[in-house]
Symmetry: C2
Subunit: 226 residues, 2 copies
């Protein structure tokens, strides 16, 4: 059994990678990271470091062309600032997708992963979406209804050759971290912050979520102390 | 209402384009063609000519990187020959997806279209899949079950902002042509043949299907007489 794991260099996908390597062995796992016009490439460096840690092959693809017209605040193509508050607070002001939602990004990443996975002879694609990111439809492409439909699209559209595995779709981020800690996931190598730089900003929504997930497990974030 | 139409330069997507222009007006329609490592670029020239005919904007994206490891016979990356027989005959020898099935190609195209459509402020993405291509699972990414799941993935993953329109999912190719003839679709500008060159080969599966669809409408194929 071979697996392709979407790997962003963050907590969630690194935990998926730890699970896939634990289940199939590093030689049967490929990590896939995506350059998509992000304002910084710090997370791609982390994806590389994480893949090296596990001894899995890393492929990197470029999908920036598909977001050239987007005004999402995560992208170079936008001059919007990245908000310095939690997702919940952003949604109090404006319900629905947040300004860091990249248009159908995860659908596109999963489709690209499916195309590549079939060519590589993989039977599964792994995706680290979890319920906290889907809350209030902040990221609709992390929701259970999206994951269910996308999983069926991938299975049907490949003639049953490929399945989507989304282990945390009904879990919160603290549960993701709990799983990763048990598997000794290399969280010290990961990067979540929406801003680049030498250290995480601690102010953006993903920094806030990450800190909370470690605190709920009673441990400090190794990427903050490393 | 604005629409993005996947445009390959062939019969089916050209008919979709005719329908979308008829419904929304050319100024509200964008055509999207995809370079994906095809052995020839003849169909992309046709997509351009068709878009010019309708006076709609044409965008072209490059997704070849996602198929670099595929051995699909349509692609430059493969040295397999394109079969010179109908889909039905190919499937008698080997059931399931045919050798011209590009791994999850249409799922990837639709996802890319969804990302771009959202950025452009479109509410619909149009896709020319029809039942003949899905028969016997020759192209599982044209099947009704795939289209249904993918449509829901696009709708859910965009927070309800975008819908997939697939007018021919339960129609055969003859019915597609019948619709296009009524709308004066510029079939003389289209290209379906899997091989490049100055004229269609007449021998590959898509040439066979195309000839049959025109014959069933009692008309000659204008691309063969042009």
């Amino acid at each position: 059994m071979k697996a392709l794991v979407l790997a962003s260099g963050g907590i969630d996908s690194t935990t998926c990678l730890a699970m896939a390597v634990d289940r199939y062995g590093a030689q049967n796992v490929t990590a896939l990271s995506v350059s998509y016009g992000q304002k910084h490439s710090r997370e791609l460096e982390s994806a590389k470091a994480v893949a090296m840690h596990f001894g899995v092959e890393l492929m990197t693809i470029d999908l920036a062309q598909m977001f050239a017209y987007s005004d999402c605040s995560l992208l170079k193509s936008s001059d919007k600032d990245i908000p310095e508050e939690s997702y919940a607070k952003q949604q109090e002001a404006a319900p629905g997708p947040v300004s860091t939602y990249v248009p159908f990004r995860n659908g596109l990443f999963l489709s690209a992963a499916a195309s590549i996975a079939l060519s590589l002879g993989c039977e599964t694609v792994w995706y680290g979406a979890h319920a906290d990111d889907a809350a209030g439809n902040a990221y609709p492409d992390c929701s259970e209804s999206f994951v269910d439909a996308m999983g069926r699209a991938i299975n049907e559209g490949t003639g049953g050759a490929l399945s989507l595995v989304v282990p945390f779709v009904t879990s919160n981020k603290a549960e993701v971290v709990r799983t990763g800690l048990k598997l000794s996931a290399p969280y010290h190598l990961t990067w979540s912050c929406y801003n680049g730089g030498d250290r995480p900003c601690g102010k953006c929504a993903t920094c806030i979520d990450r800190a909370k997930a470690f605190a709920q497990n009673g441990v400090s974030d190794p990427a903050m102390t490393y």
